[in-house]
Amino acid sequence: MYQDEELVFSCPQVVADRPTHYCPGCHHGVAHRLVGELLEEMGLVEKTIMVTAIGCSVFLYNYLLVDAVEAPHGRAPAVATGVKRAKPDKFVFTYQGDGDLASIGMAEIMHCANRGERVSVVFVNNTVYGMTGGQMAPTTLIGQKTTTCPGGRCAEREGMPIKMAEIIASLGGSAYVARTALNNVKNINKTKKCLRKAFEVQTSGLGFGFVEVLSACPTNWKMSAIKANERIANEMIPYFPLGVFKDATADVTGEAAGKGEEGK
């Protein structure tokens, strides 16, 4: 850095300075950075116990330098429940993919949310099983080809893509639920704001926080990173609408406070 310069953007300290194993254009890296920035900005780094899930982000613990425990596939919300009940004063979050959270882990996420566990969930929905090589996920779009629905997902046989944010918002224990995307700068910034809220409902003891983040898996979508971002805009967002589905802080601190957050 030159003398007369200021640093406008750099990697947060809690994000390890090492190359990731992700494919080019994979959005996991963006999500990691946002979480890392928030942990620093909110002063949570030394209070955090992170629960990693099984998926391409299984190595999250190599990239975010906080205490971490590895959950079996789909069970991160149960593991997080155990952590939080054992250590109620810690900040606990899970980071899960759509196969992990919406398929095998359906019972765990539903009940964790319904109990209103004071934990936060970062849900990376890329409509596919990334790590295992591109199988159909519960969120795979109709017509999308994967290795286990080679003709494209068909509603008749495989059902409709599941909308987790809406379902979680309908449960009693959730305090903040939003869906965002990482396909452009505006949405990335919006995602960070929503994640902050989801973390805040935990730190303020309000309840369970959940952000579904629409993300790209260029490799298994078999397209370039740029095309993948276009697909999010053109195919995913129309089916998975972005927005805040529930916000307990709105009732508690008033609309104005909520808006204030937005305006920051």
Binding site: E6, V8, P24, G25, R33, P218, N229
Partner: protein, 81 residues
Amino acid sequence: MSRIEIREDRCKGCLLCTTVCPKEIIKQADRFNQHGYKPAEVPAGDMKKCTGCASCATICPDVAITVYKTKKKAKKGASHG
């Protein structure tokens, strides 16, 4: 005046940064880096056009871009993102 630094060994050549630069100054290099990717770069001379908007850094999945801005006297430092 602003500028960016791309950590070439961390760049995977996904080119997402090239799509968000308002000045369209980020290009793909012709060479491979050690991991076999053709990294992004700002061709010599174009850097002066950079506004320091940090869009490229925000979208980069590999946190490969650092953004610097020449200090202005009265303003407070902006935070990340």
